[in-house]
């Protein structure tokens, strides 16, 4: 399957010896982690290896993990950036609990990751990076490579720096530029090790360095040198083959959650036949949605980098008033700043999507790390009775459907909608079966046109939604605002009874969305059983894997995963009550748990983690086992 690159470039690396044909070992899946300094290009190597693996037909899940600092001091633990990838010939749900392969570009990368490794894992290190000063910076007293502390692992010490330098020696690049090609050498080597074709990476390099031919050549050479080194070195006795997964036929691409979110919004705007407007203020890990959407101007997509998050959401409210598909994106502290404008959108009943790409809090917290602790803020984080629908994506590609669905609901019900993802989904990637665009549900936008009997707060019978009457329409001139206003006319009114009527009407409107939420899917025992694990958002993979494993052991464990968090699906209470025990697994201290207990009076219990890291499958498994015993 692999397309071996020409061998010329590898001559420098292996002295031109003929390659000895090697053995191939078959594996059903591999979990690999690339780790290095944040300047070492590990995210890039990881993403390219992901693409190569996806093109080779594997199912995939990834987990990038990088520091919030752009360049923490080189060689320190704080500066370690990692990218974990699980590629498999079966369906995968998570990036894997324990890497079986670690690429460590320096001592800090080794130290930061060694505790996570599977027994007997393969460790590939850049030998030259293990200098005294680097060891010291990482906090090693002695060199772990020689002091025996790595004996339970298979360690491969490779002269990555020297071999890269040799491969590029005649290009006249400075040391720094050469050093920065080490990631491509490693990628080439690992690509050989797992028999991944490198064409897609070569093509990517050509696009990436179209304007810098010398860097293009350098990176190509480093990649090929690494690949050929893998083939010719005697260190690796075998390469590994992970056969393609049996996945649903169709056209695929790799997608991260943030890209899928951006594309979902564009798709929804196209379907609605309206321009897309994003008002946003940069914040990790949400900024990539702003970056990506700003390249789609021709659709048309308006992106407005506002002066703060308040202006971001406020500008979106203005755009919604004018008839655009209006969205805002944020995370962490930005969520707090948006509350007042969201309340305004609730009151004036304009469609708006607030995308919260959750990160670990409180306050600035851990900007690059995922958490799910904003659920109750989305539910209740505004003054007054201010219900807002909430939709949460479960996987990176699911962000597309959820973004699309958020727009559909916002427009249909004339309401703001929260779309919840998180840092793990945002940067994690998986293969995505491209949707059939004709089969996406319709998004109907019909602006009010007829002045006869027009009333800005008259309601559609079923949905209770009000007309979308945009400026520029003759005869429909009217005023809206945050003050309590009269039913139908929208004129300012402080009538007590009218206020209650409006508050209740808006609440009924949002509750009524439950009508069109599909029945809850139970993975496992349809008629109920011992335990059901209830989850939402990015915990999907870990929960599903843990539940699958439990079921394989004949444990009566099932899984329900929610996309709609407000309103909750109408049949959720009934379905949960079919189980003796309900465990809610979430990356917070029990927020969905509170909602479920309050709404259904079910004595559910939590499985919680707030470490800025996704659940390991084993953590959920352990909690399941404890619950089954207890």
């Amino acid at each position: 399957m692999a397309v071996p690159p020409e061998s010329a470039a590898s001559a420098a690396a292996n002295g031109g010896e003929a390659a000895i044909p090697k053995q191939r070992t078959s594996r059903d899946h591999v979990v690999i982690r690339f780790a290095g300094d944040s300047g070492d290009g590990m995210q890039l190597a990881g993403m390219q290896f992901t693409t190569e693996s996806a093109l080779a037909g594997n199912d995939i899940a990834t987990l990038p993990d990088f520091p919030a600092e752009i360049r923490a001091p080189a060689g320190t633990l704080a500066g370690v950036s990692g990218f974990q990838l699980n590629f498999s010939s079966n369906e995968v749900f998570t990036a894997g609990d324990e890497p079986e392969v670690l690429v460590a570009m320096n001592p800090a990368a080794l130290k930061a990751n060694i505790g996570d490794l599977a027994p007997n894992a393969i460790i590939i290190i850049d030998k030259e990076a293990f200098t005294d000063s680097n060891l010291k910076r990482a906090g090693y007293q002695t060199n772990p490579v020689v002091d025996g502390s790595l004996d339970k692992f298979q360690v491969f010490q490779i002269d990555v720096t020297r071999l890269t330098t040799l491969a590029l020696h005649d290009l006249g690049l400075n040391n720094r530029a050469v050093f920065r090609c080490r990631n491509l050498f490693v990628l080439g080597m690992v690509s050989w090790l797992y028999q991944r074709p490198i064409d897609s990476t070569l093509a990517w390099l050509e696009r990436r360095f179209a304007k810098a031919p010398d860097l293009l050549e350098a990176n190509r050479r480093a990649l090929k040198a690494g690949y050929n080194f893998g083939e010719t070195t005697e260190m690796f006795a075998s390469s590994y083959v992970v056969e393609p997964a049996r996945i649903k036929p169709g056209r695929y691409r790799n997608i991260t959650g943030n890209s899928a979110t951006a594309l979902g919004f564009v798709a929804a705007a196209v379907k609605a036949g309206r321009p897309l407007f994003l008002g946003s203020y940069p914040i990790t890990p949400a900024s990539d949605v702003l970056h990506e959407l700003s390249t789609f101007k021709n659709f048309p997509v308006y992106t407005f980098q506002a002066e703060d998050e308040i202006a971001g959401v406020a500008s979106a409210v203005g755009a919604a008033f004018g008839g655009a598909i209006a969205i805002t994106t944020t995370s962490g502290p930005g969520m707090n700043l948006k509350a007042e404008a969201v309340g305004l959108a609730v009151k004036v009943e304009l469609p708006l999507i607030i995308t919260d790409i959750q990160r670990a809090g409180p306050s600035t917290g851990m900007p690059t790390k995922p958490e799910q602790a904003d659920l109750l803020m989305a539910m209740y984080g505004r003054h007054g009775e201010s219900p807002v629908p909430i939709i949460a994506a479960a996987t990176p590609s699911d962000c597309f459907e959820c973004a699309y669905e958020a727009v559909r609901i916002a427009v249909k019900y004339m309401t703001p909608v929260f779309l919840m993802t998180d840092g793990q989904l945002a940067n994690g990637a998986e293969p995505w079966l491209l949707p059939d665009l004709d089969k996406l549900p319709p998004i109907k936008v019909e602006f009010a046109k007829d002045p006869k009997g027009f009333m800005p707060f008259a309601r559609e019978e079923e949905t209770l939604s009000r007309p979308w009457a945009v400026p520029g329409t003759p005869g429909l001139e009217h005023r809206i605002g945050g003050l309590s206003s009269e039913n139908l006319t929208g004129n300012v009114s402080y009538s007590p009874a009218n206020n209650e009527l409006m508050v209740r009407t808006r609440a009924r409107k949002i509750a009524g969305i439950a009508r069109e939420i599909p029945p809850v899917e139970v993975f496992g025992d349809q008629d109920g059983g011992e335990l059901v694990v209830l989850g939402w958002g990015s915990t999907f993979g870990s929960i599903r894997e843990a539940v699958k494993q439990a079921r394989a052991k004949k444990q009566s464990v099932s899984h329900i995963h929610l996309r709609y968090l407000n309103p909750l699906p109408g049949d959720l209470g009934d379905k949960l009550r079919r189980f003796r025990k309900v465990m809610v697994a979430e990356m917070n201290l029990g927020q969905l748990l509170k909602m479920v207990r309050a709404d259904y009076l079910i004595d559910a219990f939590g499985c919680n983690k707030v470490q800025g890291r996704p659940f390991k499958v084993s953590e959920i498994t352990n909690r399941i086992n404890r619950a089954l015993e207890g």
Partner: protein, 332 residues
């Protein structure tokens, strides 16, 4: 189609609820009177306001209107104007709304030069919340929240606008209906963010704040009416003027060898002059009129040009192509 509109066409059916005698009535009247002259169909006019007595304004205009949240009207108007550049969008704000809670949005909308008309009703007080000092209240002012006198140094709205490099900066007074009408027209004709400070009397919480400028008996001695290309003359008998004494402006009395040719001639395009005029404090007269006007591309036009350019370069958006961008593969 275009039957000429009249003032009445711009009066909404809502009862006006300002205190009797409030300067806001005069401003409302001036705007309703000016509107028909602009010849814009009512449906294309939108008034967006924040919160405050002043911000109730949109309810009384028979156009599209949006009474939003405190201080954020500039941002909301930006979202609307950028996506619907054909609309005539007005922002109504107060000294608290626009300079305190919304100060950030105001400076950014001005520097971006979004094509909006921004009317700031400056009564140097928080009216709606019943009389606390505002960012334009003078030092020493006794209010409900400053029983011992305010110790906050105030902002000058004009200087804030100039500092943000607004492309149109002007001042008028609620009771000067003719002047106010002219300024509204100038603001309306301007392309870009037009900032008009309107000195407005709050007769309940800050009565007479601008007495010097509105009292018929004395106002001529205190108002300096700026007119482009004309010397800076003021006074009941138009016998006073402003001339430069070295680097400093001074008030002089005409006659005795001093003639109009010695005076500063107003030049709306001179930013330094605008700043100098904005700095006038007693005993200098208070300038009203256009301090500064320049032509600079508007933000909304530039945004839409980028969209058009992208469309002509890449063609209209093709969703299928977009989804298939990058590496795709087929599973059979």
């Amino acid at each position: 189609m275009a039957t000429a509109l009249t003032r009445k066409d711009f009066v909404s059916d809502q009862e006006v609820r300002w205190c009797p005698g409030c300067g806001d009535y005069a401003i409302l009247a001036a705007v309703q009177k000016a509107m028909p002259e602009f010849g814009i169909p009512r449906e294309n006019i939108v008034f967006i306001s924040g919160i405050g007595c002043s911000s109730r304004f949109p309810y009384y205009m028979n156009t599209y209107g949006f009474h939003t949240i405190h201080g954020r009207a500039p941002a909301i108007a930006t979202g609307l104007k950028v996506t619907r550049p054909e609309l005539d969008v007005w922002v109504i704000t107060g000294d608290g709304d626009g300079l305190s809670i919304g100060g950030n949005h105001l400076i950014h909308v001005l520097r971006r030069n979004v094509d909006l008309r921004i009317l700031m009703f400056n009564n140097r007080i928080y009216g709606l919340t019943k009389g606390q000092y505002s960012p334009t209240s003078e030092v020493g002012k006794i209010t409900k929240s400053t029983p011992l006198g305010s110790i906050d140094y105030p902002f000058s709205p004009i200087k804030v606008a100039l500092g943000a490099h607004a492309t149109f900066v002007a001042r008028s007074i609620d009771v000067e209906q003719k002047h106010l009408g002219e300024m509204l027209k100038r603001a309306h004709d301007h392309r870009g963010a037009a900032f008009l400070e309107i000195l407005q009397n709050c007769n309940i919480y800050n009565d007479g704040a601008f007495n010097d400028l509105s009292d018929k008996a004395i106002k001529a001695e205190h108002q300096l009416v700026l007119e482009h290309g004309k010397p800076l003359v003021f006074g009941k008998n138009r016998d006073k003027g402003i001339r430069m004494n070295g680097m400093r402006p001074e008030v002089v009395t005409l006659g005795n060898g001093i003639s109009e040719s010695d005076l500063i001639v107003h030049d709306e395009k001179n930013l330094s002059l605008a700043f100098m005029l904005a700095n006038f404090e007693a005993p200098m007269p208070t300038p009203i009129g256009v301090f500064y006007a320049e032509s600079r591309p508007t933000y909304d036009a530039a945004v839409n040009q980028q969209l058009e350019a992208a469309k002509s370069k890449m063609g209209p958006g093709d969703l299928k192509k977009l989804l298939e961008r990058g590496d795709v593969w087929d599973v059979h």
